[in-house]
Amino acid sequence: MSDVAAGDDEAFRALTQVLYAPALGTAMKVLGNRAEAEDAVQTALVKLWRTAARFDPEKAKVETWFRRIVINACIDRKRALKPVDPIDEAYDLESEAPGPEAETAGMMRDARIGAAVMELPTRQRAAITLFYGDGATMNEIAEALETTPKAVEGLLARARADLAKRLEPLKEELEA
């Protein structure tokens, strides 16, 4: 990371190879769209390069720090974009016919949960992704979202309550 801060292109390429896939996964969970997720990660990489000198290894790991940049890039991107339904976001599973990506029960379940999560506000979505996917603590999420741990608790509680309502049919199916 110090090499990246010193302006070493090769170090940046090597670091990107490590960080890219997990960052893309996180961005896809938050944005729900691969194209937008790739753009957000691209923005985050530019920011990583420009602000590498500010990275403090004693405060956080590179992965945690970059995840924060990615989450912020996703939130900024979602804020800037008008709410449109992309064509490839056809996994809103209202249709009875299973698509090629929903052939297995697990994939269908994932897609239904993903669709429900996509209905949440961006910050709640980011909090859910970090809490459940990365096992991030309240403090880490608060730092990533530039808010307080108390506010994160509120975000998560609202998101869970909302998702419980939206996923009620899925729960009933699973319990049956």
């Binding site: 292109d9 869970r160 419980a164 996923l167 899925l170």
Partner: protein, 181 residues
Amino acid sequence: MIGGKGETGRAANDQDMIDVLLREWASNRDVAVPPGAALAAADAALAEARITPASQRRWFPAAVFGGSVAAALAGVLVLTPGTVPESASPSGEVVALSPGIGEPQQFASALPETGLVAPSAGEAAMPVASGNSGTQLAASDFGPATAPPLDETFPSFDAPPDDLLMTSHVFTTRPDEELIY
């Protein structure tokens, strides 16, 4: 079951179920990244980072315009600190109303007599504001002894200057106060 422990227990189960589902969903991040995609992204990021950010480009003209306006305003405020009230003398020559105003250099020459420290050569060489406010400031800085005496001579009504004429012109009586002859 309605109410009691059963409902609480069911709510807890629901929450657990939600947690399980969400954990499963959020942990599943199998994103197929084509080989070379990360390198391409790195190169694109490097290229983007080395050009001027769009935000800066967008604000540059506004910054130039804003800076010009600010500089012009500052110039107007600094270069015109206040004008000496002037009046035309009967001969038509424009003169200052108070004697000494507009001649701040005379204070510096009067300093040795008052025992005060004279300004250095650098201070003496500094431009002196030609306005009224600048002169008064200089007088107060060097003490009352150096301040010019106030002109307390009352204007003659036999030969009224323009100020008196203007006063009589502006402050005319209202219709209900007009004298009836």
